[in-house]
């Protein structure tokens, strides 16, 4: 990677895809995170709760989006990451991740790069809208 120092406003990460989201992906994430809510893996439970089927854990999409950003700019350089949950993600969905540099600025003599992040459902809308801030290591 060229380095955070070479980025300017408008630069975009190479787009990444994920999917189709499978039940196994959901179950693996539930085991890894400890969130065992049956609404995400028990079809009967999901139906009784009023949903047509089980749906993915929002924080799974959040993790996928965060790692997409950190694979681009470095896990150790991350200073903040946040998402707003918009649409649910369902088994079979194909997801697309995008990142765009929205600001480059200095803070306490460290170069900061701000990103706007999105996780979009192919054929659907925005599942997650997020932001992240990375610090350039050269000035640390």
């Amino acid at each position: 990677m060229g380095g955070l120092d070479e980025l300017s406003v408008g630069d975009r990460a190479p787009q990444r895809g994920f999917g189709p989201v499978t039940m196994t992906d959901i179950v693996r994430y539930q085991g890894a995170s400890g969130d065992m809510n049956p609404i995400h893996h028990d079809p009967g439970f999901a139906e009784r709760a009023g949903f047509p089927a089980v749906f993915s854990v929002g924080m799974l999409q959040a993790g996928l989006l965060a790692n997409f950003a950190c694979d681009w700019l470095g896990y150790e350089n991350l200073r903040s990451f946040g998402v707003r949950f918009r649409d649910k993600v369902w088994p079979g969905d194909r997801l697309v991740f995008d990142a765009e540099v929205t600001a480059v600025h200095e803070k306490d003599s460290v170069r900061m790069v701000d990103l706007e992040l999105t996780c979009t459902r192919e054929g659907g809308g925005t599942a997650l809208a997020g932001t992240a801030a990375f610090a350039s290591p050269l000035n640390d």
């Binding site: 994920f18 890894a32 924080m59 694979d71 896990y75 991350l78 200073r79 946040g82």
Partner: protein
């Protein structure tokens, strides 16, 4: 509208474990999940959601502090701040969760939606703030009766 910070749970203490970080990286689509046995890699951004494994069995939750209808509760947003970069494999962190804000908004269909904001502070043994997790939970408006 501001409110006093209301403690919800903690302090509890967790250890950032290599095996768990590898599992979590793999579960969240990272191609570099195969960290070596001597790794002190930084955690992925959302790893601190795994505090579930370290909470005391009788830990209180938001539902114990606020009277909520679980059937109408949605996770609206989640964010993490790492003032000096993410904690690393091997670190020990002590964390406490607070309710920091509560407000209402009229929803699209005229009913009242309630927003609840929690913050979890993660500190190193030195007392330094290692991370903050902040979640917004939305109790949607009750169905029209």
């Amino acid at each position: 509208m501001s409110m006093a910070k209301t403690p919800i749970s903690g302090p509890f203490t967790m250890r950032v474990e290599l095996g768990k970080v590898r599992e979590f990286l793999r579960a969240t689509g990272s191609p570099s999940w195969d960290l070596p046995p001597d790794s002190h890699a930084p955690i992925p951004a959302t790893f601190l959601t795994t505090t579930r494994f370290w909470d005391a069995a009788d830990a209180k939750t938001l539902m114990d502090v606020v009277d909520l209808d679980l059937k109408r509760l949605l996770h609206g947003s989640q964010e993490y701040e790492f003032p000096t970069g993410p904690p690393r494999v091997g670190e020990i962190l002590t964390y406490t969760t607070f309710l920091v804000n509560s407000y209402t908004k009229v929803g699209g269909r005229g009913g009242e939606m309630r927003f609840l904001v929690t913050e979890t502070e993660f500190r190193r043994p030195s007392g330094d703030l290692a991370a903050i997790g902040r979640g917004t939970f939305i109790e949607t408006a009750p169905p029209a009766s």
